[in-house]
Assembly symmetry: C2
């Protein structure tokens, strides 16, 4: 926080010079409109770039992927986007706990991370148009949470979807419907109970259901 | 239901003959208004009876309990009300499957049972006033799902609340947000995956967390 930088670095805005912040905002506005019209699945980076009057490579440079762009439109923080899917990596015998902790850290943690997610869920539940956008987005997140070699494995997809759904249920009980016993429950008590249940579901994919 | 009582007990109203259907509807209307004003916890059978201009014993005769009256206001069928809590009774080693099947039978079954429950959940998620009513109601259902000797057991209450929340999450994914992989999942596949996870949570209460 050097005082000297104050006058030099950040330029005037208001008269709007087409700086990178302006372009970023243009892309966000175009994306919001395009997602609302064509849905998540029907929107492409190329169309959004055309709508915003910028090059598609600039959209990728700002946001990296359609998923991250959609998340940015909903003000979902990058951390809350990657934390859940990253948790699937690592030793299998502790994946239940990693996934549970990662999920609760963003959905039941810092309001900056959790509020946009709760808003997304509320919109998806109460608004038909939002439902389709969000469900397609979540479907793509679920697939991405899986290791590349598992992405086409229907069982693995169901297991990951079920894990995400059941964890969302914990948040519905604790943060949305606010059932007393769930609101009052201590964080570590919840992790201690939920993690083995999540592990049970993720263990099933190595299990007997298919190999019998 | 003696016919002789008809003329004596409940008085006339507007042009209508004061039959038992009229009184039942009067009670439902009074209950709806009272729950909206005072919330679920703050409303009593006595107050609702007074509002409806009938005797409290008649309200009990029609509905049996405040819970059942609240459910009736929301058009929740008696079957969907008892099925989940009844499933907690019986041998412990199969409680996970019983509870899972009972829950999905009402929440993912016949629209006559499931639609009012989905409407209740939608209202609780999107409407502050409904949230309090529904959360108090669900809290009382969770406690009642437990055997009488367990009702004051804080652990048992958290476990039952967690089970209900996680099962609601499955419905949020499958019926509300409608994530592709959850919508497409076969009913028996879901039961096969969910039941052991629910069993894991309900086993914990006999387990090590407290006895160590």
């Amino acid at each position: 926080m050097s005082m000297g930088a104050e006058t030099a670095a950040p330029r005037r805005r208001q008269g709007r010079r087409p700086g990178s912040n302006d372009n970023r905002q243009l892309v966000l506005d175009a994306a919001r409109a395009r997602f609302a019209t064509d849905g998540y699945a029907g929107s492409t980076i190329r169309k959004i770039a055309t709508d915003a009057g910028v090059d598609a490579s600039l959209v990728m440079q700002f946001f990296g992927s359609k998923q991250e762009l959609f998340a940015a439109v909903l003000s979902i923080t990058p951390a809350s986007l990657t934390r859940f899917s990253d948790a699937f990596d690592g030793p299998h015998d502790t994946v239940g706990e990693r996934v549970t902790r990662a999920f609760l850290a963003v959905w039941d943690g810092d309001p900056q991370d959790s509020e946009p997610l709760l808003a997304m869920l509320r919109a998806a539940i109460s608004n038909e148009q939002a439902t389709t956008q969000v469900s397609d987005f979540i479907q793509s997140r679920i697939t991405d949470a899986l290791a590349p070699q598992l992405r086409d494995d229907e069982d693995a997809t169901i297991h990951a979807g079920l894990v995400a759904s059941m964890l969302v249920g914990v948040i519905v009980g604790r943060r949305m419907v606010r059932v007393g016993t769930m609101v009052d429950a201590d964080h570590e008590t919840l992790v201690g109970l939920i993690a083995p249940a999540i592990q049970t579901i993720l263990d099933a994919r190595r299990g007997d259901s298919k190999n019998s």
